[in-house]
């Protein structure tokens, strides 16, 4: 009875209507409400199909590509890193640049002086050039005049002057160690970290691999699973890591706004029942539209695979397993902080948390499911439904993450019960 009354309070009114509208707009903007144009095509050996690119740890590919990239950044003294997810451009001081030059010299066998000279030549060209367009420069001609020239990247040009090649006696493990030291000098998070070097090993996917992937999509995901996963990825990142907090804060402040708090405090009903029912009502209200939308999204592909065995429960499984824990944690933070402070501070807390978390994942949207990610990511755009093996590999991490947030939200709800109980006994009434 109490649950229905709290649910009615949550869904009646403009805030809930806005919540639903926003969820629909946000998911529609990501194109995950209709997958009817995204059919998974069975690999065909006779057709000239492109199966895409994958990363593999092949030293012969990785070593030259990585050293070239490092040398280009060294010349400009501008290194791209992602220390905590956000892109950060690092500029090194002279000592640190010298250390990087030493590492490049150790890998390529080029004298360190030459490497240094090329850096100076690069910066000289930079200093004297006035950029007048995307590719055009005005440069002094040495006789007091100027020459207008077209330029396609100073670093690349200087790079051509120096023959870069990895020493023949350089082992891959040595190379990784040296590149790791570059990453340490840069403060971490660069593409030169030992575990990130694989990003330089691009190889095309073969027909046999494409068939294996297709079989996994067909037999493990039963087609619908991949689409449901992509839907959940966007639903959590765009909406459910933040929006339920609004419903929770509004419902938690409703009694106070209606000046009913004191009246409810003296009633016989237990604090545990009030808070638990309120929490469940917020969750039910938040999950209702997303369950409907996940089926609208998934139904759009059911007719693309006639005579195939589809998993019709896949949307529900991902709704409850992937999206629900995010809704639980944001709703729990909302209810807990509102009861504790009697202010909407939870909105600021969740907004900041969501903002940092979403941006943290910018480099790792394709697969980022560490333990404390509010919105675990497993997204390669329309190719996401192909990545069944990746999902199977990451599943233990995703499971641990989702269980942690479920547990945390239960702890917060229990904490809220104690806070509510204390308020009924006259404690935590800040303004009294």
């Amino acid at each position: 009875m109490l649950f229905w009354s709290e649910l009615k309070k949550t869904i009646a009114g403009i805030p809930y209507l806005l919540f639903v509208i926003v969820v629909v707009i946000a998911l529609n903007s990501q194109g995950v409400l209709n997958f009817s144009n995204d059919k998974v095509i069975e690999p065909n050996p006779t057709a000239n199909q492109n199966y895409g690119i994958k990363n593999e740890e092949i030293p012969e590919l990785i070593m030259p590509a990585a050293i070239e990239a490092l040398y280009a950044e060294f010349l400009e003294n501008r290194y791209q890193t992602y220390p905590i997810g956000f892109v950060k451009y690092v500029k090194l001081n002279d000592d640190e640049q010298r250390k990087v030059a030493e590492i490049i010299a150790a890998i390529t066998n080029i004298e360190i002086e030459k490497i240094y000279a090329s850096q100076d030549s690069c910066s000289d060209r930079n200093d004297n050039a006035i950029v007048v367009g995307d590719n055009a420069n005005i440069q002094p001609d040495g006789n007091g005049g100027f020459v207008i020239s077209l330029e396609s990247g100073i670093a690349e040009e200087v790079q051509k002057d120096l023959e870069l090649s990895v020493r023949k006696d350089m082992s891959y493990s040595q190379f990784k160690e040296l590149m790791q030291s570059v990453d340490d000098i840069l403060g971490g998070g660069s593409n030169y970290a030992a575990e990130s070097l694989i990003g330089y090993g691009h190889v095309p996917i073969t027909y046999e691999e494409a068939v294996r992937r297709y079989e996994l999509v067909k037999n493990r995901d039963r087609f619908t699973g991949g689409y449901a996963r992509l839907f959940s990825d966007y639903a959590v990142a765009m909406t459910f890591s933040i929006l339920p907090v609004f419903l929770a804060v509004i419902i938690a402040m409703k009694d106070k706004r209606a000046k009913m708090s004191e009246l409810i405090y003296i009633r016989k009903i237990s604090s545990a029942k009030i808070i638990t029912m309120r929490f469940l009502a917020v969750l039910a209200a938040a999950m209702l539209p997303v369950i409907v939308l996940s089926y609208i999204s998934n139904i759009s592909i059911w007719n693309l695979y006639p005579e195939m065995k589809l998993d019709y429960l896949a949307p529900l499984k991902y709704d409850l397993g992937w999206i629900l824990p995010s809704a639980m944690i944001t709703a729990a933070v909302g209810i807990c902080l509102t009861e504790l402070t009697d202010t909407p501070i939870a909105v600021a807390v969740c907004a900041l948390w969501w903002f940092i978390d979403v941006n943290l994942g910018m480099k790792s949207v394709s697969a980022s499911c560490t333990l404390f990610r509010l919105a675990p990511r497993h997204n390669s755009g329309t190719k996401s439904y192909f990545r069944t093996q990746d999902y199977i590999d990451h599943f233990p991490k995703i499971l641990a993450n989702r269980l942690l947030f479920t547990g945390l939200s239960i702890v917060l709800v229990v904490g809220t019960i104690f806070i509510y109980e204390a308020k009924r006994k006259g404690k935590f009434l800040w303004k009294k």
Partner: protein
């Protein structure tokens, strides 16, 4: 003049301190999360549009917040001083704070040898004003600060997904070197602010 001065001091002390603190936190964590050394124009634009412009939501949205409590609203309405004057004062110092904080951050970027132009600065202020005005208008219509924060935050999130499909209302347009939307955002922001103040004036007459 003395009256305006005392209203301003009272409001800053009692209503603006928390918002200002949140703004300072946002501006302090920005360089920690994002590199601020030698950024080119596009990178500076990313930083200003995606991070700094959020201060508008924090500073402008709660302009009507104290009067959302019915008892306070009735008490304030009975006073000799016009509530609209109080709103206008709050609005003015919120706008000044946006201009000052964005300016300070731009100077900091300049000191870190980043490319930054006056247009980038103005564009960021326009973004902040628009986001804040969106919140202020929602607050005027719903008398609920929580919903008022929700709308600009959701609009901000929508810009991540929808991108330049939002046309002249795309918040991150300077990242793609398009400054025209800033005129629209700034002008719409000012229009929304004045419309919100008018709504409040009309509402007070009707009650």
């Amino acid at each position: 003049m003395e009256k305006i001065k005392s209203i301003t001091i009272f409001n800053i002390r009692h209503h603006a301190m928390l918002s200002t603190l949140v703004v300072v936190i946002i501006l302090l964590i920005t360089p920690i999360l994002f590199g601020t050394s030698q950024l080119d124009l596009t990178e500076s634009a990313i930083l200003l549009e995606m991070f700094v412009s959020l201060i508008g939501i924090v500073l402008i949205t709660p302009v009507f917040q104290p009067e959302h409590d019915d008892a306070i609203r009735e008490l304030v309405s009975s006073k000799y001083v016009s509530t609209n004057l109080v709103y206008f004062i709050r609005m003015t110092y919120a706008a000044i704070l946006i201009i000052v904080f964005t300016g300070l951050f731009a100077v900091y970027l300049r000191m870190r040898q980043c490319d930054i132009t006056f247009l980038l600065y103005l564009g960021t202020v326009a973004n902040a004003v628009f986001l804040g005005a969106l919140g202020m208008m929602t607050a005027a219509l719903t008398n609920n600060t929580v919903i008022a924060y929700m709308i600009p935050l959701v609009y901000y999130a929508l810009n991540y997904g929808a991108g330049d499909k939002l046309g002249n209302y795309y918040l991150f347009s300077m990242c793609i070197s398009d400054f025209t939307p800033k005129l629209w955002l700034g002008a719409t922001g000012i229009l929304l602010i004045f419309s919100a103040l008018i709504i409040k004036k009309v509402e007070r007459r009707l009650v």
